[in-house]
Symmetry: C2
Subunit: 425 residues, 2 copies
């Protein structure tokens, strides 16, 4: 059996799991690959850390970049992370040297995916990154290979398990964002610095990768609007339930005349399957032109699901030359992407006001000014001269009108905090 | 741009849609493929039928098999159908002549998939069959390529849209199987001879293809038990709802020591996402060892969804050599598959009896005899000396015990028709 020598750079939970599987599950994996997958080298910060796999016969690289030049290694697994620095250097130089690369690095693929894809083409090798989006959910190969025959109208994804876990817990237990976050951090579902997840950046990076494949463009970090879930209150979650919706941090993109990419908490109708994707699960719903809706669900993170995607990419590469990274060749990708117009939507708003006469008149006057039609207005409970939430749902409106109303509301003296606003879909 | 000459054999709804897309959407498809997809020849029964694409410049093959020997054609699309005969001859000879084949033919892949895979290996070409299972749902490439890094514990699928439509309509409208079937036939959702669908054969063929890829075996039509939905009554559907379940025709397979493949109507807990897959939609839920549950949903039939899978396979093949048909090389597939033991389950039974004293004692005595523990027993309504349904749910029991009880119930003089029995999952 032909031998493929593999080096893993980065031995966090995913890297260690990949190493462990390559050692303990080799018979199964070699049969799939048709070649012997031979882990020969690793690199990480701390050589002396206790590992869950046998490091004794592996070559240790104090500098991960040097794997790119190692004659012993023909396939590089990059699991260091970070959009630039060591990870990027390693991947670029590996490809330049004709070594294929498997990576789970969404930050890097989002920022440098086009360049890396070009390098893989030029040097007749592959870069595979199924693990970079939604863990084990086979969304990259599905979009790029299995559904390539249809154009894609839009992508809707729950791409961040931390946010989905927090929103699910808030709803089920009726506790605040901060409380759930603390609990999630204790359980290891959220990082010590959670901003990457809860502010939507992680989901946004993943979305740019999916958009690139779906729409024949390069990953585009410019045409992108991002808001996270910090402002979602239990009040909003309860109102959503009452109205027949569930709040999810939704990554949405579409391409008509231009590109729209948006990560934001949305109220999703309970009739839509994606509204029922709970806890740490991820999901991606594709609206395809020819095949209708296609939805994929599974674990979007965690050592074993992510390692599955990495191992599957290893097997695919070892079996033979892979498709181009983003589907078409890089010179066929559309690089002149314009900003698309956001579609019209219904919206939910929560306005915190002081419970006194005349306030509602002041608020509704703003809607009248811009001819934004209110569908329902609800003030729950009474709290004279104290704070009370007023909840408004609107009829469908274009995005510019919404922005005008939101601007006036934000500046209105009737509101005692920033208004909360979500798409209803 | 390099040119690939394509021939389509079979111009039913799918074949015509593929031809139409190749003609009308060529810019998009060529960009994806990186080559010019050039439809040059077609074959069907009736040359003079009005088509939804331009047939005037295409070569017409009165005998589809002859495409296999045509020097003008380098890629053959087989959409004739049927496990043997012309379809099989065409595919075998095409592969022998080094022409890759794309097919949607589940009957053929189920019966001859191993042989065809071997031919494609020997002759250094590919056979692609994403469209043969669950229409556009990217389940074959997901199992084979994107999730190859994990072993699969079991597959649960809703693989027949006709059955799922019928069961959904029965539940929503409270009408009988026969009534919905007639309506489905009028709407084109069911064939004039519906047995292939409603008796579970179609789902079973698809299941054997998925099992092969998931478990590293050849498609196995021997280890397979199949029952359809003809015996499902509205009564069962209403009881299911009351108990918190939904009835679906489920295709289930697992491989421990041996292979279990089973197509049968099941009561699925409403907590499981797959229970909410309604109408003509299909779904496949994989229980993977390393990555946990992965579920895919979409249209399992119809001209456009199925054509999407065919077109995607064409693009993949044109882009370069494809993975082996079933993942590992055919000589790595396990061909000595033993019959596996069915797992223990809870069961639902409906027994039609005469409403008179002593009947329940006679029925329950059978359960006592085999120590099968009854969880609940429900006789709905009274109908003295007339037929009345008694509904029983059991505690978990092994399959042999169930069979003994079912045999005695079937022979019991207390029952006035065949007992209905379904797994509860």
């Amino acid at each position: 059996m032909e031998i493929v020598n593999i080096g893993i750079a980065g031995l966090g939970t995913v890297g260690s799991e990949v190493a462990k599987q390559l050692q303990l599950n080799s018979e199964f994996l070699n049969k799939k690959a048709g070649k012997k997958l031979n882990l020969v080298a690793v690199s990480a910060n701390n050589k002396n850390k206790v590992r869950n796999f046998d490091i004794s016969n592996l070559k240790w690289f104090p500098d991960a970049e040097k794997m790119a030049n190692s004659k012993e290694i023909s396939l590089v697994i990059e699991l260091i992370g970070g959009s630039d620095g060591v990870a990027l250097d390693l991947c670029k130089n590996s490809l330049i040297n004709g070594k294929s690369v498997v990576t789970a690095n969404k930050a890097m693929m989002s920022k440098h995916g086009y360049e890396l894809a070009k390098l893989s083409e030029t040097n007749n090798c592959s870069i595979a990154f199924e693990a970079s989006v939604a863990g084990c959910i086979p969304i990259i190969k599905s979009l790029r290979d299995a559904l390539s025959g249809s154009s894609v109208n839009s992508i809707s994804g729950i791409l961040n398990g931390t946010c989905n876990y927090i929103l699910t817990e808030m709803r089920e237990k009726g506790v605040s964002f901060n409380e759930v976050l603390k609990d999630a951090q204790a359980k290891g579902y959220a990082e010590a610095d959670p901003s990457f997840d809860v502010d939507g950046i992680d989901a946004a990076q993943k979305l740019t990768i999916l958009s690139a494949i779906a729409f024949g463009i390069a990953p585009d970090l410019n045409n992108l609007s991002v808001s996270g879930i910090r402002d979602v209150d239990v009040t909003d979650i309860l109102f959503a339930e009452e109205l027949g919706y569930r709040i999810k941090l939704l990554a949405f993109s579409k391409f008509d005349n231009g590109l729209v990419q948006e990560v934001s908490p949305c109220m999703i109708s309970l009739d839509r399957q994606i509204s029922n994707v709970e806890g740490v699960l991820n999901a991606v719903e594709l609206d395809t032109e020819l095949a209708g809706p296609v939805m994929l669900t599974g674990y979007g993170a965690g050592a074993e699901p992510t390692a599955t995607a990495v191992l599957s990419d290893i097997i695919s590469i070892v079996q033979g030359k892979q498709p181009n990274a983003f589907g078409p060749k890089t010179n066929e990708l559309n690089l002149n992407v314009k900003h698309g117009e956001k579609e019209s939507n219904r919206y939910y708003m929560r306005l915190n006001v002081i419970d006194k006469s005349g306030v509602l008149a002041g608020v509704t006057e703003i809607f009248r000014k811009y001819a934004l039609s209110i569908e329902s207005l609800l003030q729950r409970g009474r709290n004279p001269n104290e704070e009370v939430p007023v909840v408004i749902t609107t009829h469908e409106t274009d995005y510019d009108t919404l922005q005008s109303v939101m601007k006036d509301l934000t500046n209105s003296k009737e509101l005692i905090s920033k208004p909360v606003c979500m798409k209803i879909i």
